[in-house]
Amino acid sequence: MSETALLQNYLLVGSILFALGLTGFLIRRNLIVMFLCAEMMLQGVSLSLIAWGRYHNDWSGQMLVIFIITVAACEAGIALALVLALCRKSGSLDIVNWQNVREEGRMPYIDQEVPAEAMESEAWPTLTPAGIEPATDQQELYRSNV
């Protein structure tokens, strides 16, 4: 199996993963999805590093990926704490709510139009409220043993 062919295949997958993560980070507005996209970019870089490490028959690629995983873990901890704090303050995960930390002289971003959902939204499971007596039929009550 040709090592150069393997390297090129991996670099292509890594670059695609990085580019997709960057796309998602820039076009999505949900804080949690943006966090996932940042992790995806790190995965793309890790793939490239491992491929280079194998190509050069060297341990450094894998060492760097171990450190990337460590830093990603730190990032995940802080990012989730930040998401929690921001969501508590603004009441939603929308990053547009934090645009008043922008530079002076920049226009605020305002949604021009909010399109309706293209597909029917799925039915979310609901919990039955507890402690409420069900409405019962009077005739049913006679037959009941209760």
Binding site: R29, V33, S46, R88, L93, E117
Partner: protein
């Protein structure tokens, strides 16, 4: 503009079509086609797209990936190639689904699938520890993220900000820029120098497989130009006997490389006895490297983790609520 082109095509159709075909199948043409297809796919697979648009986007995406993969050489071993393509396909499909899922719950699930694919790709490269570590570390992170999603986003159902982006034009322009990265990298692989290298490596592989037996393996091939002579440095994992056999048949290999690759007519091959990173006790060696050459890095990473832990507690602001008289936000 369009009419002119049609006219030219009509008057001299056969040669114009041939010229157009050769331009599009050339390296630049293919890079641009792959770029356009990938951008179209990402534009169609938006979070608020209907099912038919998503399917159309998936078709364009597969076509674009096919164009990009026409730049890289095949691995010349069918089982390895198919396993790789399966894992890469899983990774890329789940990554696209992550950024295009409307609900963050599905985004998190698709991201977990993408991580499984990446871990498989790590194992495929022989990085056993990292494959397992990715699953172990990220699985925990994803479960926590999942809880966050359920806690923060689920009660309201689908939020409007998950289906709108920053307006229409950024949503169209951003894929153009990001897919240009992929397209440029694929374009680099089409360069003649890299193609020659791959061809030469296959010839070296064949020679080593024929002469040195199944246990020997070519670990590393690098080349550099010395005047008009191309010097090929080959690291081989083999015993003494096989190495001397290879040294004896060097001139034949050099001649066949010179014949097959016109740009490298003068070629010198140097065989070196190499070591293999992918040894049987791979993880033990990795640990030796980690706690030997990278010991300071490990200590710094440990400090970073500790600081991140403290920082996360401070940022989350858990202690503020316990203060008497703290105002509700």
């Amino acid at each position: 503009m369009n009419g002119c082109w049609l006219l030219a095509a009509a008057t001299d159709s056969s040669s114009a079509w041939a010229e157009l075909g050769s331009k599009l199948s050339g390296t630049e043409g293919r890079a641009i086609i792959g770029w356009a297809l990938a951008v179209l796919a990402l534009w169609l697979i938006g979070p608020n797209s209907s099912l038919s648009r998503k399917i159309a986007g998936a078709v364009f995406g597969v076509l674009g990936l096919g164009v990009f993969w026409s730049f890289v050489p095949a691995m010349s071993f069918l089982p390895a190639e198919s396993v790789f393509l399966l894992l890469a396909g899983l990774t890329i499909f789940s990554a696209v689904a992550t950024i295009s899922a409307r609900s963050p719950v599905y985004s998190a699930i698709w991201f977990a699938c993408s991580l499984l694919g990446t871990a498989g790709l790590f194992l495929f490269q022989g990085a056993q520890f990292l494959g397992i570590a990715t699953i172990a570390v990220y699985a925990g992170a994803i479960v926590v993220t999942f809880l966050f999603v359920l806690m923060l986003a689920q009660p309201e159902g689908h939020a409007f900000f998950d289906r709108v982006s920053w307006g229409k034009s950024p949503r169209a322009v951003i894929p153009v820029v990001t897919m240009a990265i992929v397209s440029l990298i694929a374009y680099q692989f089409g360069k003649s120098d890299i193609r020659n290298h791959v061809k030469a490596e296959e010839l070296v592989n064949q020679t080593v497989a024929e002469l040195a037996g199944p246990d020997a393996a070519v670990r590393k091939v690098v080349h550099h130009q010395d005047g008009d002579v191309t010097v090929l440095e080959v690291d081989v994992v083999a015993n003494e006997e096989a190495l001397s056999k290879l040294e004896d048949s060097k001139s034949e290999l050099q001649r066949s490389i010179g014949e097959r690759i016109p740009d490298w007519s003068k070629c010198v091959v140097d065989f070196h006895a190499g070591t293999d990173v992918r040894t049987a006790d791979h993880v033990a060696h990795l640990g030796g490297q980690l706690f030997g050459a990278n010991l300071i890095g490990v200590e710094v990473a440990g400090c970073l983790l500790m600081m991140a832990l403290v920082g996360a507690l401070v940022v989350a602001g858990l202690d503020e609520e316990k203060k008497p008289g703290a105002t509700a936000r």
